[in-house]
Amino acid sequence: MAEKIYIIIVGAGKVGWNLARELLEKGNEVTLIENDRERYLTVEQELEHNIQYGDASELWVLERAGISRAGMVIAVTGDDEDNMLICQVAKEKYLVERIIARVNNPRNREHFDLLGIRPSVSATDLILRLIEHEVPEYGLVHLLDLPEQHLEIIELLLPADSRAAGQRVSDLQMPDGSLLISVLRDNTGFVPDADTVLKPGDEILAVLDPRVEEDLTAYFGPDRTASE
């Protein structure tokens, strides 16, 4: 991180404590806030003045920590309501430029979205993402998601009966709003040209508008018309 900013982290659990330690080592100014007295005393032995005791959903606790000059607020408590509230006031009351919220229950993610709290990070979703990556047959893998910009990069495994297998890239009829950017074959990746012929077992990377994701996966998926 080239730019050093003041970061407030709420919740000194495993995530918050380790984040604080890493960000401090990178030279940032960090204040961690923890509302459990015992936990606070434990972490305070290491982080000393970089941790404060208090309930960060009490606004004066955030103010005491200097939220008005914070460039980033990260809410990683074990309670989704608290994380949502802290990020909401950080963003809307104290005009903190960047917020990051932890989602404990992935089913609550839609609430974070509804309240405009982005980005939100869910460990469950991250692990699911890794499972997708480790087990490509599971389906497509999301490598990058930029929902607000309507862009994503996905990785897809071409099945043996894909209608795209055996086709030249110049003959592909991918949906509008999608672009093939590279092919992974035999453990090497390359950028295809118009004459590249796709093979079953290829993993392809495509950049696309998430709204055409279904069309794209159907296009590269098994050729159902041929089998019927």
């Binding site: 959903s57 009490e58 509230l85 089913r107 609430h111």
Partner: protein, 161 residues
Amino acid sequence: MFVVIVGAGRVGASLARSMLAEGHEVSCLDEDPESHARLEIGLDRSWEDMGGRFTVGTALEIEALTAAGVERADVFVASTDGDNTNIIIAQLAKRRFDVPTVITRVLDPYRAQWYADQGMHTICPTRVAIDMLETEVRAAASRTRGSAGRSGGVDHEDADL
């Protein structure tokens, strides 16, 4: 009128009974099944026999809110024991379910004030208590002013001797 109350503690349960007695349709949602008993305090029939509804579930779960009837609620009251929970579910009721009237109990005066400034209809019992206490103490002060109080006008250091 159809009232959905989330959090059937002392406040929520009392409100639920009053509204039901006044002829409104009332549905309560609480994560604790035991809170059903609180709804029946002072009733000679069961809450359901009186026409009330009760759903067990967590307020942040859309299924639970829907089961409680939030989609056709005229009034939504967030009265759980958690300020943050109340503030978040009130926004769900308003933004996602378009409930016309949403009332939120917030114990912390500072949070209550800021969200009220943002257009949320908040009720802050702590603020009410502070105002009442201030009024009482001021009244006592003005009564004592005439008689100079118990210290009789002597300053404290002398009075301690």
